[in-house]
């Protein structure tokens, strides 16, 4: 089974850019990398997904190096409402595996 590794927690201040990295050494050729955000008492919410290089949407960017053994979620100019747990999801040969999550705390 693939294992994903993320920092357990990160602190930031409003207006800063936050980068969260996920390691996934055993990612399979056809697997996608997906990031989710989760607030207390809610289900995870889809943020962004990519296969290689860079993907950008209205809320985040996802950077994936050529070897695809890691990925970095970039949140531009975070606000207090971005305080949440962020999960990296990698499909491993058909099995979907969440990382342990990174608890992001944004301070004023």
């Amino acid at each position: 089974l693939a294992k994903t590794t993320q920092p357990i927690s990160m602190d930031s201040y409003e207006g800063q850019e936050v980068n969260i990295t996920c390691s996934h050494n055993n990612i399979a050729t056809n697997d996608y990398i997906t990031w989710y955000q989760q607030f207390p008492s809610q289900g995870p919410r889809f943020i962004i997904q990519g296969y290689k290089t860079k993907v950008t949407n209205e809320v985040a960017s996802l950077f994936i190096p050529a070897d695809r053994k890691s990925s970095t979620l970039s949140l531009p100019r975070v606000s207090l409402s971005d305080t949440a747990v962020y999960y990296c999801l990698v499909g491993d040969r058909g099995k979907l595996i969440f990382g342990q999550g990174t608890e992001l705390s944004v301070k004023p």
């Binding site: 008492s41 289900g43 995870p44 099995k95 969440f98």
Partner: protein
């Protein structure tokens, strides 16, 4: 677009009792997932359906957990008998299908075992 609906939101039972959770996925989504999320951990996949067929149930404790998806739409997850370690949030998610399709989650059922 209506999201994934789950019920009940909360359930408290005693160990060895049985319990059932219900999930109504987003209309048109062929794939349905059940996850178990223990406090402080990431969600763990229990079972995945494609329409009404099981794709992956390798992490489902089949001696006590069962799930079905009749007619390829709604799904029910049952635990019988419950153990203390089953205390968790049970999340349902759905997608159009395939690993490149993002999953949409419900807000889960929080189960407490006394």
């Amino acid at each position: 677009e209506a999201g994934v609906a789950q019920s009940p939101r909360y359930k408290i039972i005693e160990k060895r009792q049985s319990v059932a959770f219900w999930c109504n996925p987003i209309s048109g989504h062929a794939t349905l997932y059940w996850y178990q999320q223990i406090l402080g951990q990431g969600p763990k996949l229990l079972i995945q359906f494609q329409n009404n067929g099981v794709v992956d149930d390798s992490q489902l404790p089949k001696d006590r957990f069962s799930a079905e998806r009749l007619k390829g739409v709604d799904s029910t997850l049952k635990i019988q008998p419950a153990k203390l370690e089953d205390s968790a949030v049970y999340l349902c998610a759905s997608s159009f299908g395939g690993l490149d399709q993002p999953q949409h989650f419900g807000d889960g059922t929080r189960l407490s075992i006394l």
